[in-house]
Symmetry: C3
Subunit: 251 residues, 3 copies
């Protein structure tokens, strides 16, 4: 239904792997490389140019965009030029990802999520719908971020001094949270709903509140056994079928 | 202006009622039924297939999508296949509604609102802009939900155990609220701004806070007479012109 | 890359200034005036008609839309008919701005921001991404509003009595705030993250919390010197290069 080559336009130097499918009404601008078996659905814009394109016109140089193998980019997604996406990258609808972002493998970005430029993600990160990640954020591996959570980067808005948050491996930031600029959250943390994190959190923190307070160690939640989640959840994770401990020892 | 049959594509087995209008740049995929006098504006996608379409290719079976009579679907809306929408259904722009949702009659869904799969709505529900409803939520009749409110369904994220909230008839959830998984909110409730509802609320509760506390009976708010709102507001409601009590007795 | 005249459609009485560029897949409806050197990028809808268009059909009269000189409207933006935008107006992607809005010069509206009808903005206002401004709001000059902040206008939802907030010149509303209906915020105020402002704020207030409390004068923050921001930040402001005091004296 989606792949009829209707109103599809490819720019110059677009390199498609084997078995790539491009949906109707999708535009891929110049200098984009797409891996084997990747699907770009309908009404997408890939290789969106940055501000310099409008300012400098024909002197603008389009940076390379690289989408790995077996990706699924759902409709109405805008991926800026100059970002790279590891294999099995998946998006919902109407995702916007700006320039100079780096995604590891098996990352997911939900519908309407808006990722600004110069953000680095590790592997197996899952952003749910309606997340907003500020420029210069750094996100580890196996991080989950839930809806309406915003990462900020401007300590005294408006200013010119941007420092994004840093999130450690296996941490979970739940719905409607605010991570303030330059905050470092450790590994295996859990941030409860509607929290404002204004201080660094050590590994295994469960924090909640506005401003967030460390309530306990995540390993004590619910009498123990609920967290770290890595022992309870393996769908889409590299330890699926073998368990986290076996997988960890293999790394 | 909008209905020039430019870049409009209809799939197989699309059944249009009398006087249906389809806007430019809109795609309707297979197996969609649209009632009389319905308007699908420009740049919409109706019958968006689920994940199985990409995975199973030609073996994919598209479920039926049913849009009732006199609906108005504004531009850039995506309605997944397998959902049904009662008569007079109205959307703003850029609405996303996933599979297996059921909407009663006279429901409205505002701009950018994102409704995930397997959600049931009664009649005359009004979602404002930028609402996010999680899978497996159940929403009664005459329910109002305001911007940036999110319904959640995962008690210990990330997990595989999803239970959506349930909202009773005539309840109002205001802006920036979080309804936690499996919470049941009664009828005629009012949840104040920026609240996190983590426990069930009995009928007629006014609750606010993070976590939300029941502050009083809605019938006592403002000295009485403000709530239940059904006595003060009738625009678009079935008791318009006759009053809530008369209408109720007719039911 | 963007300006190939593919699937571009202009309605009746569309008046383009000199050197206007219109992106592919963009539609401009009737009665729109666009100033010199303005760029409307791809996949935009300009002059979106209001509800009366669907109801009254051929008897509908499209109000005029005016976009000033040197504007940059990024992709997938919807601007309703009947609004006006001063020179150097800039949007991110997927912005929605409804009817009867008035923007002064040098305003910016970020990606996914949703501005409802009958809102007035002064000059040099900057809305970041994912902001929601309710109908009948009034916003001064040099105002900054950050993501997931919502202005509301319905005191007893649902009602028919709408009164939007009023924001004074040079004020900053940070992330995830709620401004309640009819609230008046003075000049040079700063509202901290995750606040619910339910009372008027005098000039130079720093307020935070839910409900927001006035914590101190902004001139005392950080030991002084951080706020008013006008002495520390001039990018894109009319006092760039000369300083706020010199500029102020010239006014």
């Amino acid at each position: 239904m989606k792949f009829n080559n209707r109103n599809v336009h490819l720019g110059m130097n677009v390199r498609l792997g084997n078995n790539v499918r491009i949906g109707d009404n999708t535009t891929i601008y110049d200098n984009v490389a797409i891996g084997d078996n990747t699907i770009i659905a309908n009404d997408c814009v890939i290789g969106e140019p940055s501000w310099e394109y409008y300012r400098h016109g024909e002197n603008y140089t389009q940076p390379e965009t690289v989408i790995g193998a077996s990706a699924l980019i759902r409709s109405h997604t805008i991926l800026y030029a100059g970002s790279s996406f590891g294999e099995n990258f998946t998006t919902g609808h109407r995702v916007t990802i700006r320039e100079n972002c780096r995604f590891g493998r098996d990352c997911q970005v939900g519908t309407l999520t808006n990722i600004q430029g110069d953000v680095t993600f590790g592997d197996y990160c899952k952003m749910h719908s309606n997340v907003l990640i500020a420029e210069f954020s750094t996100i580890g591996n196996h991080v989950f971020i839930y809806p309406f959570t915003v990462f900020t980067n401007d300590t005294h808005p408006p200013s010119n001094h941007y420092k994004g948050p840093t999130i450690g491996d296996y941490s979970v930031i739940t719905v409607h949270c605010i991570i303030l600029p330059a905050v470092k959250i450790g590994t295996h943390c859990l941030v409860g709903a509607n929290s404002v994190v204004n201080k660094d959190l050590p590994d295994f923190s469960f924090a909640v509140g506005s401003p967030a307070k460390i309530m306990r160690d995540v390993r004590e939640l619910g009498g123990g056994g609920l967290y770290p989640w890595v022992y309870n959840f393996e769908r889409g994770m590299p330890w699926q079928g073998i368990g986290f401990d076996v997988w960890s020892q293999q790394q």
